[in-house]
Amino acid sequence: MSRRLLVGYASAAVVLGIAPLFLDPYWVDVLNSVGLYALLALSLNLILGDAGLFNMGQAAFYAVGAYTAAILSTQLHVPILWALPVSGLVAALFAALVARPVIHLRGDYLLIVTIGLGEIVRIALVNDVFGLTGGANGIFGIARPSILDHKIRRPQEFFYLIWAFVALTVFLFHRLEQSRFGRALNYLREDPVAAEGSGVNTARYKLLAFALGAGWAGMTGSLYAAKMTIISPESFSFWESVVVFLMVILGGSGSIPGVLLGAALVVMVPEFFRGLASARMLFFGLVMMVMMVVRPQGLLPLRAPRFKRSDLPRAEPAPGAAPGGAK
């Protein structure tokens, strides 16, 4: 990680750390929303940005996670934070299962399939499929999370819970991108044929990208359920998938700081223009169009290479190599 990025993260952490002391609950809640969307955008970034798989159904996995947590909380009285890893696991398994038959599809074809998936999940929830999801009304009465017997209920408390999870996610995902696993996803994005020809099991990594991205969205869903205490299908509409997709593309596909910035702007810019009432979305759409024309790579695009000169050892000749090199 570059020094500039580290400084950027440190300053953001300090500003966010003291922000709730100065902001009214409304703006703290806006920042909570930014945090949740940042998590969703980071989870989609694994699939869309790193592996290059077009997925406009991320809300489906978010919903599966949220409903898993809600059902565990209301039916089995599992503490909601304990339900968090379970929601992630269920969403990941769900993704692996539904993506298996369609994962070989490319680009726009996969995009259309994932849109369909998002709709199917939402409609299934509305129709109360297993008699567990509460239909259009959703599920209410989800227990508040508690840490060491301290119940988390105020927006400021949720703020620290959500942003701690964001920080952990950023940390882990940065490690991931500089690893064998993360690189395998990038090879997929750049050229699947060359990746397979270099010995990468592309079908497996596509599925893993989907499962991991979905799992993270699922855990985010359980945080959302804990914060809202009521969830219903309308929170997981197609529009949610579109918005998260936008955050990744607008911020910089494949770039963690870019995606974070994308989430912050997409949530906060419309808030600043609340005075314009319904015209604000018009303005927002215009900004989007201008962005894609003048800066298609996103606001903070991916900076390759990920290696620094100092990371590289001095080259020893390969085994059996004659001294000298080809020059």
């Binding site: 064998r180 044929v193 397979e196």
Partner: protein, 255 residues
């Protein structure tokens, strides 16, 4: 000398067109074998069948005594057959060293959790993979360009980077599809030297090439295809003198 790779009656059709028909040849261990023929003769299709990009309709492909027909490409790479592509297929937006690291993928193990926790084993493996990738870059003469993006490299350098990526998989057989394509004379000379040095590492080479001077200098054994069928096979001298090859390449009026 035992054969490392054996093709027996390999046939591949696309629709009604037989791209490769009943082709049989051996690649001896430690040798450099050239596969030549006019455009559309089925050379690249033969390569694609060997590397698992296509599945043969009929015939068997045996590598080290084991049938590899129908295996997926990454599996074949793991068994020891690596390739380069006719139209260079690098990971354009990634650096040279990251491109070569792709080749290390199948020789390393660390998974998702190891990467997140950064276990000592994962860190060691990562350092070894980077060191090996740098060594392969040095082997092809690109150690100074490790951090260049692949797309910014000169054409000849891109070809050599692709070879480095293939070598990083520790292949027993290296399959090169027109390695001299787009190279100037000087770069081609260097390539002949590089092929020699790869052979000295004990790696067998099968290559497609249009540059006859390279084929005649680099290969010990040549297989000639025309219209998907093998029309000749032998040493460079024998191939040069073969009337069917002369006809296929130059046309009868020149012969």
């Amino acid at each position: 000398m035992s054969a490392l790779l054996e093709l027996r009656n390999v046939t591949k059709s696309f629709g009604g067109l037989t791209a490769v028909g009943d082709v049989t040849f051996d690649v001896a261990k430690g040798s450099v074998v050239g596969l030549i023929g006019p455009n559309g003769a089925g050379k690249t299709t033969t390569f694609n069948v060997i590397t698992g990009n296509h599945r043969a309709d009929r015939g068997t492909i045996t590598f080290e005594g084991r049938s590899i027909g129908g295996l997926r490409t990454h599996k074949i790479v793991t068994l020891g057959i690596a390739r380069t592509f006719q139209n260079i297929r690098l990971f354009q937006q990634l650096s040279a060293v990251e491109n070569v690291l792709a080749g290390r993928h199948c020789r390393t193990r660390a998974g998702l959790l190891a990467a997140m926790v950064r276990t000592p084993g994962q860190a060691r493996e990562e350092a070894e993979a980077v060191a090996r990738a740098m060594a392969e870059l040095a082997f092809v003469g690109l150690e100074g360009r490790a951090l260049e993006l692949a797309k910014n490299l000169a054409y000849g350098d891109q070809r050599r980077l692709e070879i480095a990526r293939a070598l990083a998989t520790e292949p027993k057989l290296l399959v090169l599809d027109e390695p001299a394509g787009g190279m100037n004379e000087h770069e081609t000379d260097e390539l002949v030297g590089l092929i020699r040095r790869i052979q000295e590492r004990g790696i067998t080479i099968l290559l497609i090439e249009h540059d006859m001077s390279l084929v005649m200098r680099a290969c010990e054994h040549i297989v000639v295809l025309e219209y998907g069928e093998k029309i000749a096979e032998g040493t460079p001298d024998a191939i040069r003198a073969d009337p069917r090859v002369i006809e296929a390449y130059l046309g009868t009026e020149e012969a």
